[in-house]
Symmetry: C2
Subunit: 159 residues, 2 copies
DNA sequence: TATTGTTATACTCTATAACTATA
DNA sequence: TATAGTTATAGAGTATAACAATA
């Protein structure tokens, strides 16, 4: 019975992760570039260093993603007033238009998914999901420690 | 309020999709190879053609993934009795051991996440999640159609 | 000396196209 | 002629390491 809920959660995961990206994947937009674009839309003009930290990715990676977004006209590299090493990745009008569309789509989706659910169902859903999220974090942290322990134990034992 | 639930769902998505993979990412296992290994564990010895369909990926891709799993000793290519063109991707003892561990981990995780939740909370969670999943499928299908329509309309309009 | 962003290089995952061996 | 799997090639996304310009 427990695995039924987890199976469904995994299925939602699949759909959100893959098909939502496919939804916007046109005109040179890829998942990673969309992610970066979304971050710039949320935070405003940002240095590549800041974006690297935000996306948990190396600065070298940001160079490539920004190159792609510049080529397709969604962002531009602007000089950083006060630090001539840095560049500010900035939305172009076209980038602003697209991210605005995406925000509307996001809100519409949330409304369509949850808008007409019974208030009580929505509340318990949100509540339980929060609990699940917390537990999941603990589980993953523990599993990571176990995995590290096993790797240390068996590291030289079965080549 | 609706977006709060969606935000949490997205966060769970992140954790399940990325960190669960990281949990097993050692000894040459990558997400895609783990996915293939999991499929072989579920379905038994399978031809690469069948695996390509199961993973929604090209046969060429399966070649590379199986190469990796053979190199790290989790599967072997066995001849197909009755079709000398085909090979049967088969778990080695080591592959069987790992996938068994993974299954236990999966069940343990489900138990740890949902096992001691109040029965009513678990029931409503499962129920609402099922509804959400169905709606999400409809939403994505519609959004895809809208996106196609927009692409057709604006295709030659704003280069 | 430290930091920002780049070039150089490599690996994984994915795709299409052309090809070989079998069916 | 069709199918199973391969080689050849290409592109996205990721990483480390070495380097230039600037702080």
């Amino acid at each position: 019975m427990e695995t039924d809920a987890l199976d469904r959660l995994l299925a939602v995961t699949q759909l959100l992760g893959e098909d939502m990206n496919a939804m916007f994947a046109r005109e040179g937009l890829t998942p990673a570039r969309t992610h970066l674009l979304w971050e710039v839309a949320r935070q405003g003009p940002s240095t590549q260093r800041v974006l690297a930290d935000a996306l948990s990715v190396t600065p070298r990676n940001i160079t490539g993603l920004v190159d792609g977004l510049v080529a397709s006209g969604f962002v531009s590299r602007e000089p950083h007033a006060g630090d001539r090493r840095a560049t500010l990745v900035t939305l172009t009008p076209r980038g602003l238009e697209l991210t605005t569309q995406m925000q509307h789509g996001y809100i519409d989706l949330a409304g369509a998914l949850f808008g007409d659910l019974p208030a009580e169902a929505l509340r318990s859903f949100t509540e339980v999901l929060g609990t699940v999220l917390d537990r999941l974090r603990i589980q993953i942290a523990e599993a990571g420690q176990i995995a590290e322990g096993q790797a240390a134990e068996t590291g030289a034992g079965h080549g």
